[in-house]
Symmetry: C2
Subunit: 254 residues, 2 copies
DNA sequence: CGCAGTTAGTGTACCGGAGATACTATCCAT
DNA sequence: ATGGATAGTATCTCCGGTACACTAACTGCG
């Protein structure tokens, strides 16, 4: 599936070539009005407005004033489009300088978190493999650079990256969902009232799920309006992990 | 979307009622030949064989010898079916007893990991909200019970749960993908040969991505046949996090 | 200058999936 | 037995992704 477009680097598969923008910009034939970036840009705009499900080849093409099929000349498949969108929306990693690796990681995490906030649909993009896009690699590299002077060996650094980035993604996802749950759009408010928090509180019987019941009874999954504990929660979890990293570093440099 | 089926507990929405099997098993009218469990069972079988994408109402119905539409009487929507499948495949949490909370968490993690191994498609199920099914809640409860005597407050325990379960899911996903990458099915072997690891090694230039390039050059993303570092990697990351938890506990009980 | 070859965008048609609706079949309680 | 409730079916619509064959636009060569 997906056609093969010639690329400068002979060995790179077509989809990777597009992801890294290696196209040799054909000098013969009809010049292209469209290009990968315009397609991806339109798709990202759409996703920002309507979410990932709202992105359809039809609508993307419509937004650009072209036919659905013309997109296939530039992206190969819907799946690939999503990957391109994700890498584009992730953006290039900011250069960072921090005094300690710990500050650096905090900064890194906050930075991606901000990107996710700009493009909430990013968390819906299924993770289908290790990072492949230039931007994703850039973030990865930025993270690894933060850990440069820790004395950790490469494998360990990679492990830390996996853990931290997984945590960030997860935390954002979780946060987004809760926010969604308490969105009071007029009519659905009554629905939300009895919504999952409460419904589950009724289902989770203390004798069967003692510990979980405590959490639900305490309303740990309902956020009171006014306070915004999300940031603190985020930082808490991150610091938890970083304490672990610190222990690892201490162990190595002992 | 989704119809409302009456349930014993008046206040519980229909989908939750089905998830918790609260149906009042109608006493009038034609008796059902089908039920939620048969539908879910067939769907899970299908997913085990063909992956989550292979699950289609059509095929599930076919496997059961019914029409597609009959399923809607029992599951409300495809999305709900997937949720039901996930909770079913996750299975009930095993009772566990360990000497230390640390052993307990290891055990817990290994146990879910095993479940994921039985139903690899579980990682493809999009996480659309906090745990809602009885089995998911059961696992949650089991985890919290492990942390019972640590002195951590409920919020912190929940935070730890989020971090750990996120890690496990992530690690499994990652592992699965790498395994997929190196699946040599005859013809695609040549494809795989130059596949992503190598292609990326060519794209990730040391001057632009110094740290990442090191990783790719070192072949950190290619697994040699023979050794199986997956387990060690998994445990490594878990212990990293648990070191952090340990620090938190120490801090509290100080 | 104009034609050959190349590349971009279009039209159309297909496959397959989700789901709405209206139907028929079946069975219980009265 | 029969009427009301429930289970399963037959069809139909909508829509998304994609293959394929076409037309349109342009370039460089002869």
């Amino acid at each position: 599936m997906g056609h093969n477009k010639p690329s400068t680097a002979g060995e790179v598969p077509a989809d990777l070539a597009r992801l890294w923008r290696l196209s040799a910009s054909a000098r013969r034939g009809r010049p292209a009005e469209l290009d990968v970036d315009r397609v991806v840009g339109a798709a990202v705009d759409l996703a920002d407005r309507e979410g990932l499900d709202g992105v359809t080849l039809q609508k993307v093409a419509q937004a650009l004033g072209f036919t659905k099929m013309s997109l296939y000349r530039h992206v190969g498949s819907k799946e690939e489009l999503v990957e391109l969108m994700a890498d584009h929306a992730t953006g290039s990693a900011p250069g960072l300088d921090a005094d300690s690796w710990r500050d650096g990681v905090h900064w890194w995490a906050a930075a991606i978190r901000a990107r996710y906030a700009e493009h909430p649909w990013l968390v819906e993009v299924p993770v289908v493999g290790p990072p492949r896009g230039p931007n994703a690699i850039g973030w990865m590299d930025a993270f690894l650079r933060v850990l440069c002077d820790t004395g950790l060996d490469p494998g360990t650094k990679a492990g830390v990256l996996v853990v931290v980035s997984g945590y960030v993604r997860n935390a954002i996802q979780q946060g987004r969902q809760m926010a969604e749950g308490r969105r009071g759009t007029g009519l659905s408010q009554a629905d939300n009232e009895q919504n999952y928090g409460r419904a589950l509180a009724a289902l989770v019987h203390p004798e069967r799920f003692p510990e979980a019941a405590l959490l639900f009874k305490a309303g740990a999954f309902e956020t009171e309006p006014g306070e915004n504990p999300e940031d603190q929660d985020f930082v808490f979890g991150l610091d938890l992990i970083l304490d672990g990293v610190e222990a690892a570093i201490a162990r190595i440099n002992r």
